[in-house]
């Protein structure tokens, strides 16, 4: 078992937004140590993936997967003092640390980031540090919430509609995401069958009814009356000058999908998914305790309402809520 901790530093003068592992500005790796050499017994927290939560005001938010534990400043194995490694007595905003936790089989089981304010001295006298490692979700949001959504890019445009639906231009959702999040490793990238790879993203809003009588390439939509109705398009958000994270969140949340980081990879999945390999748990051999209920106790609501914009015209000249 080992806990690799990699100390990175960005060059002095780097813009605040670029002091981020998702930035195109690369930091310098200063030093790597095994924090397990410094670990104080019985201080390790659980690692939790709960993906999301709702606060007391029923506000929905994404949860990071965190880990905390204590370390002792020095040990007999390494010469490095943690007070120095974590620059405890130094004011330096250009430092961040990556943490990679490996099990006894040398398999990576958790990864996260340690920020300067995630290291606190629990006891100066006993030279004990408390270390809080945060999942990559925070780093992702911090960076892309300040990065403007890219303008619509015409390459590669898929032009498979040949039925006279003039003006309906679109990219695959996969390309739309990858063009905006260039330094992010997504789970759908290497999985051809991932559902994200089936979606298309329209450039502009579009409403259309085909003329069955005259159109030789009749395209069918899953609509009782075969109306194609796309209320929005990618360019609406570019024109609004929104950031990349806002756009990302604006389709993930209402679709019912969730996102989180697992071992440095950004996972997008259906909240209730059946897509993964099956893990068989034999309860007679490994079970410690169990409970069964008909609800997830974390939430206590009867209704989910997704605000979805508005319809308006000359007579109902209203703005969206």
């Amino acid at each position: 078992m080992r806990i690799d901790c990699l100390k990175y530093e960005w060059a002095r003068g780097t813009e605040d937004i670029d002091i981020n592992f998702f930035s195109s500005v690369a930091p310098t790796l200063i030093e790597t140590i095994d924090l397990f050499d410094y670990y104080q017994d019985e201080t390790m927290s659980e690692i939790e993936y709960s993906f999301e939560d709702v606060d007391s005001d029923n506000i929905f938010y994404v949860k990071t997967s965190n880990l905390s534990f204590n370390c002792i400043n020095d040990n007999l194995i390494s010469d490095t003092l943690l007070f120095d490694f974590f620059a405890v007595f130094e004011s330096n905003k250009y430092l961040k640390w990556k943490l990679n936790y490996y099990d006894d089989n040398d398999s990576l089981i958790y990864s996260g980031i340690i920020y300067k304010d995630g290291v606190s001295v629990e006891s100066v006298e006993d030279k004990i540090l408390n270390i809080v490692c945060i999942g990559y979700e925070k780093e992702f949001k911090d960076y892309f919430a300040k990065d403007p959504l890219k303008a619509w890019d015409t390459e590669p445009v898929i032009q498979s509609f040949s039925s006279g639906v003039n003006g309906l231009t679109y990219l695959s959702l996969r390309d739309s995401i990858l063009k905006n999040f260039t330094n992010v490793d997504f789970n759908f990238f290497s999985n051809f069958y991932h559902f994200i790879n089936t979606y298309l993203c329209s450039e502009k809003p579009f409403t259309y009814q085909q003329n069955i009588a005259t159109d030789p390439f009749y395209i069918k939509f899953k609509d009782d009356y075969n109306v194609l109705h796309l209320k929005t398009g990618y360019s609406c958000y570019v024109l609004d000058k929104v950031n990349k994270f806002t756009w990302f969140d604006s389709f993930i949340k209402p679709m019912g999908w969730i996102w989180y980081f697992y071992l440095n990879k950004l996972i997008i999945q259906e909240r209730a998914t059946t897509d993964y390999d099956v893990l068989n748990i034999d309860c007679s051999e490994v079970e410690v305790s169990q409970s069964l209920s008909h609800r997830y106790n974390q939430f206590q609501v009867n209704n989910v309402v997704i605000m979805d914009g508005s319809y308006f015209d000359l007579g109902y000249n209203r703005t969206a809520a």
Binding site: Y49, Y199, R271, D277, Y316
Partner: protein
Amino acid sequence: MFSVLSTNHGNLSHNLGGDSAIVYSDINFYSNKVRPFRALRINPDNHYGFTYYDHEFTRNIGLNEYTVDFINVSISHTSPYDITDTIINYNGFKTLILRPYVNSRDNSGGIDAHNRLADTGAYYGRGNFFLAANAPMTEHQGFYNGSAANSLFRYDADLELYINYEQHVRLDTFTKNFKKFLKTNDEVIIELQVKQLITNPLQTVHLTNYQDADLEDKYFSIIRLSFHPIDEISTLTLQMIQ
């Protein structure tokens, strides 16, 4: 564009526009249809006709986010229509509101019913245009905005149909995705603590020899996973998915 004559409103014009809300509830009725028109009809003069009869949809009436108006337009094809409003006030304490970013009204799209084939100038295709590019509004134009999910669509090879967000919110996949938030009686949630280090949430779980029930043919999605890497104890919250 969205105005119709309504018998319930003194045979006066009644506008079906307004704020849209997708709803998923275990105690209140919902339809997850939000567009205020039923269908489009191509008229001989190459105009679109909008049909409103025999249509039901939900809108938020703007008093607050917890008030939804379920609207039903009569089956009769002829105006004036009999419009039924069913106002549902949700308990704010028992309602989860999701507010994805909605594009601004200025950058909303619209359709011009009297220019169905227009592809040039302010029109980027088949009568579609951005509001800002084609001001001022006319009575033949209708506009809409929404979350970015409304810009997505996909081809379903099994159905041989294109599916957009309007349809997605009425699929089982969508309701499954939101089911964990609700107090329901038809959902099975199991919390299990095991003496085994399970670190990967990207798995579907199958339980054998579960003491209280035969779950041999059931599969579960992990909705929460925690593990202690040193004690090697893992706790899973599982949602039955099939």
